[in-house]
Every structure is written in C-alpha cells, then in structure tokens.
C-alpha cells in the first residue's frame, strides 16, 4: 500500500528502505534540499503505511544557459529526471512508473517542452521501462559515465539521453527518430 505526495525534509529520516539498497546513491543534505527548495513539485515520494519512504523521484526544471542559445545542443525549458528509486520490497508494483507520471504532470504544469533523463546504454531494463512510458533516445552521449557498469576493464560508458515530449510540444519538435545514432560529447551536455 502506498501514498504519493511531495517530498518533505523529514522524509530523510525514513529513507532507509530505499537508500540502504546498493543501487541507490545517498547525497549530501544540500543536494536534496536544493531540489526541495527549487522544484518542490518535481520531488515526489511514495510512502508505505508506516511512513517509510519506498520510492522517490527527484527532478528539476531548466534550460541551457542563454549564451548557448544558438548552439545546436541548446536545450529549451524542460524537466530533467535526476534520480528515481524504488525500495526492493516495493518493486513490481508500478511505483517507478507512477512517480515518473507525477513528475510529467508537474513538468506540464510548468510549461516544459519535454522531460529528459540519462541512462547507461547497457541498462536494458531501465531503457525498456522508459520506452514503455513513451520516452525515446534523443542522442548518445559518448563516455558520459566515468566507469562501466559491466566491464571493469573500461573506464567509461556511454549514456542515452532519453526524452518524452510534454503537452506543449504539439508538433513533437523535441524528439527524433534513431537518436541512438546521434552522438555528442559530454561537454555538449549541460
């Protein structure tokens, strides 16, 4: 059983079900507070009947700095998914999908053009999950990650920049087909 609502700072005292999981990163307090301070509607949690946090999503709204507005890599006003996690015991219930949908609603409410996120190219499960939600690969960011998730001999891994258009993008101008083949460097990504 779960409730979905905005994050509150005291939720940090109930993060253990999510954050003790080896695949969930724990950040400094300032990082969580920055998201809660700037984009409170894009920081959503799922809690269980005892108030334990069993999933959360952190997102932000931004555009590329003005100075890049004539660059081909310029990103207009959009929402970005920074982190999404679901506690092991609460998986297979669609909580990740529901949290993402909540963030998409908030992105629409904030007049964003699209929602984007980065995912390792080898993370087939996550890629399939996002594709099932309407996301598509917009571009491949070469050597975006400083390590490789499956091959310890490699010291980098590419990322897919995946996008889903928001309601504002009626003409679907901010997505493209075959984005996998559109390669950019990490410095082209802000």
């Amino acid at each position: 059983m779960a409730n979905f609502r905005r994050f509150r700072p005291d939720d940090l005292n109930k993060f253990s079900k999510c954050n003790l999981d080896q695949y969930t990163e724990t950040y400094e307090l300032g990082f969580y507070m920055q998201y809660h301070a700037k984009w409170p509607s894009l920081f959503q949690v799922a809690e269980d009947q005892d108030g334990n946090i069993i999933g959360y999503i952190m997102g932000k709204l931004e555009s590329s700095p003005e100075v890049y507005q004539y660059s081909e890599h310029y990103l207009p006003w959009h929402a970005h998914i920074t982190a999404v996690t679901v506690a092991p015991e609460a998986r297979r219930l669609g909580i990740g999908r529901l949290l993402t949908q909540h963030l998409e609603v908030a992105a629409d409410a904030n007049n964003a053009w699209f929602v984007d996120l980065f995912v390792r190219v080898t993370n087939d499960k996550a890629i399939a999950f996002y594709k099932s939600m309407g996301y598509s690969v917009f571009r491949t960011v070469k050597d975006y990650y400083g390590d490789h998730s499956t091959d310890p001999t490699l010291n980098s891994e590419d990322a897919y920049d995946m996008r889903k258009p928001c309601k504002r993008d009626v003409k679907l101008e901010h997505i493209r087909e075959n984005g996998e083949k559109f390669e950019v460097n990490p410095e082209d990504v802000w």
């Binding site: 059983m1 109930k14 253990s16 307090l29 507070m33 809660h36 092991p88």
Partner: protein
C-alpha cells in the same frame, strides 16, 4: 552577497589602481597607508573602512579588533552606512571577530538601516535580505523584506510581498521573536494573507487577472493555508479550505493534491470526520475525461481516512453504502491501472469489511467458521501471497481477528489456499505466511487466557494458558515458538530439497528461506527470554538472566542466512545490533560497513551501530576514519546558522519549502545523533588520552545546546523486520544494547562530559599567569559554579519520572554517581573547615555515592565468562566512575594543599571529614580500577588459551535440559550442520579477542 574569508571582496571600481593592487595582493601596510591618504584627501568614509579592514588582517589584537569597535560605534550611534560596499568590507573583515549569533545586533542592523534609507535600491536590498537570511537573522530580514515589499508594490515581482509575509510568520514562531510579539507577528502574516485571499476572490469574480497582491501561485496558496491552520480558528480554516475558488478541491481538480492532503491532516487532528468524509468522497469521485475514475486521490491514506470517517458518521450505514459504491467504481476499472493502485483498492475493500457497522455485518454471518473478515483476508492472500509486503499489508487486520477467526485462518484457510491450484511456490510462500501469522498470534493478547495467580500482587510475570496449544507458561508461548522453529526449519529443508523451486527463487521478491531464517531467529530471541527494557526502571544488562544458548543460536542462524543473502539489509542491521549485544563490536563494524551509511542518512541510521560504541570497544576509534564521516556530515551541514539552501527556496518562491526546511534544520540541530557523535568520540579519546584539551561546550556541534533544548531522536527502524503485533515490543527494542537515544540520556551524557572537563582540567605546565593567586581564585569560583550547575542540571534530569526507563542500569549508576559527586565536590570546595561534624545532608550524599558504586560493582561482578565478555558496557561505566573519583580527589587535594600553604591558620581548605571521605572513595576507586584491570587481563589470558571454538559451540548447543534437542537439531539443519558453526564461532572469538585487546590499551587512570 556575504563574503567569507576565502572571497576577499573587490573594492569599488572608483578606487585607484595602486590601492586596488595593494588590496588584492594583501599588502596590508601599503593599503593602510594609501587608504589613510585617500580618506583624508577625498573625505570618503569608504577609505576609512578599507583602512580598518586592512588593519584587521594584521597580527596584533589591537589592529584586528579596531574594525569591531568601528562597527559597534556605527551600530550604537544609529549611523546609516551610505553604501553597501562599505558594509560588505566590514563584514568580511569581522568574520572571525564577530560571532554569527551577534549578526542581528551588528551587520543585520546596518543592512536593515541601509535598506530603509535606500528603499528603491532593490538589488542591494535583496542582497541585504540574503545576507541576513544566511546568518539566520530573522528580525532584520523581516524588516528588510517589509521595505522591499513596499518598494516593489508596483512591480511584476511578487516575491517581496510573500518574502515579507513568510518572514513575518517565521519570526512569529522563532525564538528570535521579541518577547510578547509572537502573536502580533503571527496575526500580521495571517491578515496580509487574508487580504491577498480576498483580492484573489474579487479578481476571480470580476474576471480580473491582475490581482497583483492576491494569491496566484500554488506555493502562495500553500503558505496561506499553512499560516491559516496555525493562526485561525478551526471554523475559519474549514471555511477557507472549502472555498470554491481557492480551496483544496479547486486545486485538486487542477491536478494538485498537496493542499487536499494537508487539509485531511488538519481535519484529522481536529477530528472533523464529516469534513474528512466529504472531502475524500469528492476527491475519489473525480472522473477522468475517458469516464474512468481519477486515481489522483486513490492513495491508501485517503481510503483509510474515508472509511474511518464513514464509520464515525451518524448514519454510518448510508456512509458505508457510499464508500462501497465508490469502491465498486474503482474495482470495475482496476484492471487498467497500476499494480500499486490495485493493491490499495484491494486493501480498501478489506478495510471496509473490518469497519462495517454491526447492522451491515449481520447479513453476512459466519459460514462454517469462515467469517467475512477471514474470507476477505484469504481473498487478499490468494492474490498477493507472492508479494514481499503481503504480511505487512495484512498484519494489522489479522491481529484484529478474534481467536477463533485467527485459528481458523491458520489451521484451515491458509492450508486450503495452498491446496487450491497448488504449485511449489504457492505452497511454500503460503507456508511462510502461515508461520509468520502464527508468530504474530504469539504476540497477541487473544492467544492467551490468564491463569489466576496464587500469590496476590506478585511481581512475577503472570501465568497464561495458550489458547492455541493449551500449554501454560508466561507470554509469549514457549511451545508455540518452539513449534514455529521446528516447522520453519523443516519447511526450509523442504525448499532446499526442491531443486526446481530453488531455481525459481531469484524471480521472487525475496528468498523464502531468508524469511524462514528470520522467523527462526526471532523465535529464538524470544525463547532466549530477551525482554527488552522494563517499562519504568533502568534496563539491566540485556543478556542477564536469559537463555544465552538460544540467543547464540539466533545469532548463528541469522549470520548463516546473511552469508547466503548478503544484500538483505534488514537482516544485516539486526545482526549489527545482536553482535553489539554479544560484545563483538569489531565484527558488528564489519557487518555495518557494507551498508554504506553515509551523508544524509547518517543522522537516522548511525545510532544503530555507534550509540554506546565507545563503552563497548573504544579501540575502534583508533581508526581515524571510524567516526569521521559523522563529524564531517554535521560540520558541513550545520556550519551555517541558516537552513541549508534556504535562499534557493526564497529566490524561487517555494514558501512551503521554506517552512519545511526551517523546521527540519531546527530538528537536525537538536538531534540526539549529533550529541552521540560528540559524546562517543570524546569518551573514546578520554580512554586513550586520560584528559582532553578542548572542553565539550566549545564543540561547535553542541555549543548551543542548553538544558532547555529538547533533543530529538530520529532513528529509522524502517528496514527492521516487524512481525510483532501492536501489543508487543518491536524486535529492535529487544535487541538494542539499551534504551534508544533520548533527550534525557543525551543531556546527561553532555553534562557528564562537562563534569569531566572540570575535574580533568590541569593548567598547562608552561602557563605562568602574572597574578597567579587571582587566577587560582577565579578558577576556584569557576569550578564551584560549574560543579553546582552540573549537579543541579543532572539532578533535574534524573528526577524526571521518565528518565530511568531511558537508561541502562550502568548508565543510571554512572549519571546518578556523577550528579552526586558534582554536588559533593561543590560542597567540598565551599564547606567551611570547622571542627563541627559534617551536616547530615553531606553524610547522606556520601552514603548515596557509596551505595551507587556498590550497586554497579554488583552488576559488574560475575563469574560467568560469557557474562564478562558481553558486559563491557558495565565495565566501561564502572571505570568512568572510578576515574572520576581519582580525578576528583586530585582536584580537591590540590586545592586543599594550596589553601593550607596560603593560609596557615588551619581555617582554609577542606573539612577533615570530607578529606576522609575522599580518601575512602579513592580506595574504592583504586579497587574498582584494579578489578577492571584484572578483568581485562584475565579475559585476555583466557582468550589466549585454546579450545575456544569448542567452548563457543558448547555455549550454543547442548545447554538444554534434553527436551529442547529438537531445536538444537533445527538450528543445525538451518545452518547446514554443526561443522558450519565452527567458522561462525571463530568470528565471534576473533571479535571478542580484538575487543579485549583494545581494552588493554586503555589508560585506566
């Protein structure tokens, strides 16, 4: 912008290059000379400021403080500094000289004056507001915000208006608020918001979009309702929250449910069930465009409140009909929705069956013992038995069943479910659930009937007859627990034998064998008779008077399971606590490390391992990185006086976030974990260094904590398995080394550290003050004041009726002794040296001290080797008392000798009976220290002897009276044979050895 020492401010561009260069190069003598010249020739006070700032960078105190005097002068004379650059220069120069807490009386005032004098300089005004907020000077920030609000009333920027309101409200609930003004500021914020609400309403009615001073944005509305909830009557809140244009439902219809959830919280606190019912009904009735119900409100909490509200309606039958109709709408469309919502709906159906009024229940009478409630539970089980959460989802309902229903569920229905469409997975998973529910029953009152006691008012636990198995004994039922262990062990064996099923386990939510091991472990913990803390008095050593072999078996089973499922964090956390209880601190640390508890989650999770750790194994602190992450987290997080990232919330207009962040920051600064960090590290450092140079009250983390500060425990137990009913203590309360962190214990620990600072203090050898006698006299007065204060504060905490239950018995002895000793020392330093005998009050004090020490010694004295290895906490507290006595004797003795040589009349110094008592205490302390030394030496020798693996295995098995052999066998089966226990015994031995070796390094004086 506020500048730190790392960011030297740039001088105004109008300043000449020569001075600019000298300033940026830090060529301070040149800056002073040039700035002086310019000040004289240009008559611009900015150059005086530059000069003072340059002086502040010189080495002498006179130079350094000249800028402070200049700032004080500006403040006290009511001067308004005419440019912001001057204030910023001063602020930069004073950063090390003026305490952040003085900001509101210094730079806050100067900035506020500047903004009032320059209301149109909006950018500078915002910069001043930010500076005040970063120093958490709410008084001046509010005044600046008020000026900015007024000055920006015609601009498009709505933030100054809401900054003003937010800060007025924050001030009203802050200790910074001037006395007697809290209500006024609260009302002021409320009235401004009320006016904004009226303007919005009028704008709405006249279709006017330009309600510039109305409520427009989502965050503005949240602020309004938060302030409303705090400052208006409940009727007013109700009226406004139901407002057709601004209210919760209007927001909800726009897809924003935050306000709706907040309204439900407020109504629940006010017990306005009719309103809860109506709000929930409306929200759950909302339909999507496609004609399907909206799931925006379909949270579990909403359903639960809706159903609870229905049960409280005067016409509950009609209310429940509405509930069921609505539920039906969701049930009919649930196939298209997320699994999570399906689960919420299924549980709402279940909840309804448990809350239905009696009149509606009558038509659904029991059929062959199967009540509608049990039938609903079975329906849920049938659909969700493979979910990891199935037990937790149903626990609260199952424990509500009466005994017959419970028994029917366990004995008839669950086996029947397993037989319908049987698969190995279904039968094994349902068996696991059946055993868990059977365990749950042992913790429920309906499982037992009390037997009349033959002795009236006995303190012995009451005797019960278990209604499930018919055996008598104390609760929980031993026979049932043993039966569960046997059954769980054999189920585990059956799973291992089913190779096909074992292959499918990785696809399940969790390995059912891990569930079974946990269940066995919990049963063994209960069979070991670990009872947790008593409800009133201090907690005795947890393994005292327990069946230790059952406890060791529990640890063995759980440890063995962890080897198989190392990512089971709940299991790992439980084992950390169990090993601490067993005295295996170094092994507990090995288990703790992979959890990677770091950064933000340390506040809630680190007490699981670090609380009381210095009393168990101080040598762990010899690793420099041991507690450093905690220190680093708090030092960075609490460095600034303001809530972290608060300006981000102000600048983006996230007003509800501002309130939340402020509340969280306040709590974090009062966290028991902060105190634990400081106290544990100091305690360990004392063990190896004897005394510390920096007094505890100078530690930045606890410097602002006073006796009145309510310290807060926020330990997160969410990952612990909880199979207990609400009538039984949670497992973490049984296996913790002592009571959880608390306000009382944290204060007592801090005060004890302060006491040690006083009695441990020795002037540095090379310190030769000019007026030594004056200095000694001041030190004497300081000691008396500090000891009296520590005595009074500790006594007042110890006298609270709730305190003993928040301490271990050893802590109770240590803190009681420290409080008494502090009082005794203060008396020793002040009582006149007369021939008259000591008054009775002092004699009583001496007697009380001896009694406390004797009690702790009794707890310490044990012939059992296992008891000795698991009672380092008691040893540590005894050693603390002994060392405190030794240092106290030196303190008083030194003073007494000094007084005697100063005044040869024989009238100064300590009373002879007090000297006599101190000598006696010294003897007791020496004896206690020798006992501790002997204990460590003897343990070390014994651990150096061979045969430990056999000894530990002997302690673990073969201890029962014969009838328990079945359990020994069950444990062996689970761990894969006794041979596998040897490796575990080796780890336990190794950890004991490491701990005792560490204690040999401890300074005992």
């Amino acid at each position: 912008m506020s500048y730190s020492r790392h960011y030297r401010p740039a001088l105004k561009s109008s300043v000449d290059v020569q001075l600019q260069t000298a300033f940026s190069d830090g060529n301070w003598q040149t800056v002073i000379r040039l700035a002086d010249k310019r000040a004289k020739s240009l008559k611009d006070p900015y150059y005086d400021a530059i000069k003072l700032c340059a002086q502040s960078q010189l080495d002498t105190a006179n130079d350094q403080y000249s800028v402070v005097f200049a700032v004080d002068d500006l403040v006290s004379k009511g001067t308004t500094v005419k440019d912001l650059e001057t204030i910023e220069l001063y602020e930069w120069a004073c950063e090390d000289q003026i305490e952040a807490s003085d900001y509101s009386n210094t730079f806050g005032v100067l900035r506020s004056r500047y903004v009032k004098a320059n209301p149109r300089a909006i950018t500078n005004g915002i910069s001043c507001l930010q500076a005040c907020l970063l120093h958490w000077d709410l008084v001046n920030a509010q005044q600046i915000a008020a000026v900015l609000d007024k000055a920006s009333s015609n601009s498009n920027d709505r933030r100054p208006m809401f900054w003003n309101i937010t800060l007025t409200y924050l001030l009203s609930i802050s200790p910074q608020c001037p006395d007697g003004k809290q209500k006024l500021f609260g009302l002021l914020a409320f009235k401004q918001l009320e006016k904004a609400a009226v303007l919005s309403e009028l704008a709405e009615k006249s279709n006017d979009d330009l309600a510039d001073r109305g409520l427009r944005a989502e965050e503005e509305l949240y602020l309004y309702y938060r302030v409303l909830a705090k400052n208006s009557s409940s009727d007013d809140y109700l009226k406004q929250i139901l407002h057709p244009e601004l209210g919760a439902m209007k927001q909800f219809e726009q897809g924003k449910k935050q306000l709706f959830l907040e309204a439900l919280d407020v109504f629940e606190a006010q017990e306005r069930w009719d309103q809860i019912f109506e709000l929930c009904r409306q929200a759950l009735s909302l339909m999507e465009d496609e004609g399907v119900p909206s799931y925006l409100a379909a949270d579990w909490k909403v359903w639960k409140r809706f159903i609870a509200a229905a049960s409280k309606k005067s016409d509950d039958e009609a209310a429940f009909e509405q509930v069921q109709q609505l539920l039906q709408t969701f049930v009919s469309t649930k196939s298209k929705t997320a699994q999570m919502y399906k689960k919420n709906i299924a549980l709402a159906v279940l909840e309804t069956h448990f809350r239905l009024p009696q009149s509606l229940l009558s038509s659904k009478a029991r059929l062959d013992g199967l009540s509608p409630r049990v039938a609903q539970i079975c329906l849920y089980l049938d659909n969700n038995y493979d979910r990891l959460s199935a037990f937790n989802d149903l626990k609260s309902y199952v424990e509500e069943l009466d005994f017959e229903e419970f028994k029917y569920l366990l004995e008839v229905m669950i086996p029947k479910l397993a037989e319908s469409e049987p698969t190995p997975a279904k039968s094994f998973l349902l068996k696991v659930l059946e055993l868990k529910f059977r365990y749950l029953l042992t913790t429920c009152p309906q499982s037992r009937s009390e037997l009349p006691s033959v002795v009236s008012e006995t303190s012995e636990p009451s005797s019960y007859r278990c209604r499930f198995c018919g055996n008598t004994g104390i609760s929980p039922c031993t026979s049932c627990l043993e039966a569960i262990v046997s059954s769980a062990a054999s189920t585990r064996q059956d799973i291992n034998k089913d190779a096909e099923f074992v292959k499918t386990i990785p696809g399940l939510d969790k390995d059912p064998r891990a569930h079974l091991s946990m269940l066995i472990g919990l049963c063994l913990i209960k069979l070991a008779k670990l009872t947790g803390k008593p409800p009133t008095g201090p907690a005795p050593p947890p393994l005292q008077e327990t069946k230790t072999f059952r406890f060791l078996q529990a640890v063995l089973v759980l440890d063995s399971q962890l080897q198989e499922t190392p990512n089971d964090n709940g299991l790992r956390l439980l084992l950390v606590e169990l090993y601490l209880l067993l005295g295996c601190a170094s092994y507990a640390y090995k288990l703790w490390t992979p959890l990677d508890v770091k950064r933000t989650i340390q506040d809630a999770l680190s007490p699981h391992f670090f609380d009381r750790i210095s009393t168990l194994s101080p040598s762990l602190f010899l690793n420099n990185r041991f507690i450093a992450p905690l220190w680093s987290y708090y030092t960075n997080t609490l460095r600034d006086p303001c809530p972290m990232r608060i300006w981000d919330a102000f600048s983006t207009g996230s007003y509800s976030s501002i309130l939340d962040m402020t509340e969280y920051d306040d709590r974090l600064r009062r966290s028991c974990t902060v105190v634990m960090t400081v106290v544990e590290e100091r305690q360990a450092a004392l063990r190896f260094r004897g005394r510390l140079d920096d007094p505890v009250h100078e530690s930045s983390l606890v410097a602002k904590i006073t006796d009145d500060t309510e310290l807060v425990n926020a330990v997160d137990y969410g990952s612990f398995t909880n199979l207990e009913s609400r009538y039984s203590a949670a497992v973490q309360d049984l296996v913790r080394l002592g009571p959880a962190p608390s306000n009382e214990r944290s204060h007592l620990a801090l005060l004890t550290a302060q006491f040690r600072d006083v009695i441990d203090y020795r002037s540095p050898k090379d310190y030769k003050p000019a007026k030594q006698q004056d200095n000694l006299a001041k030190e004497h007065i300081y000691n008396i004041e500090m000891l009296s204060r520590v005595h009074e504060s500790m006594t007042s905490f110890l006298h609270k009726t709730s305190t003993p239950a928040k301490l271990t018995s050893a802590e109770d002895a240590l803190y009681t002794f420290t409080a008494l000793l502090a009082g005794f020392l203060a008396t020793a330093l002040t009582h006149p040296r007369t021939p008259e005998p000591l008054p009775a009050s002092i004699i009583d004090n001496i007697t009380a001290l001896k009694t406390v020490l004797a009690t702790l010694r009794t707890e310490f004295n044990s012939d059992s080797l296992l008891d000795q290895l698991t009672s380092m906490h008691t040893l540590s507290c005894l050693l603390d008392i002994a060392v405190s006595i030794k240092h106290s004797v030196v303190l008083i003795g030194t003073w007494h000798e000094r007084e005697q040589s100063r005044d040869r009349s024989g009238k100064s110094g300590c009373h002879k009976d007090i000297i006599g008592a101190l000598k006696a205490f010294d003897g007791l302390a020496v004896k206690a220290i020798n006992d501790v030394k002997f204990r460590i030496k003897s343990l070390k020798e014994k651990l150096g002897e061979g045969g430990w693996l056999d000894k530990i295995l002997d302690w673990t098995f073969n201890q029962s009276d014969g009838s328990d052999d079945i359990l020994d066998k069950a444990v062996e089966d689970v761990i894969g044979g006794r041979g596998n226990a040897e490796e575990w015994a080796g780890k336990v031995f190794e950890s004991w050895n490491e701990g005792v070796t560490g204690w040999t390094l401890v300074k005992m004086e």
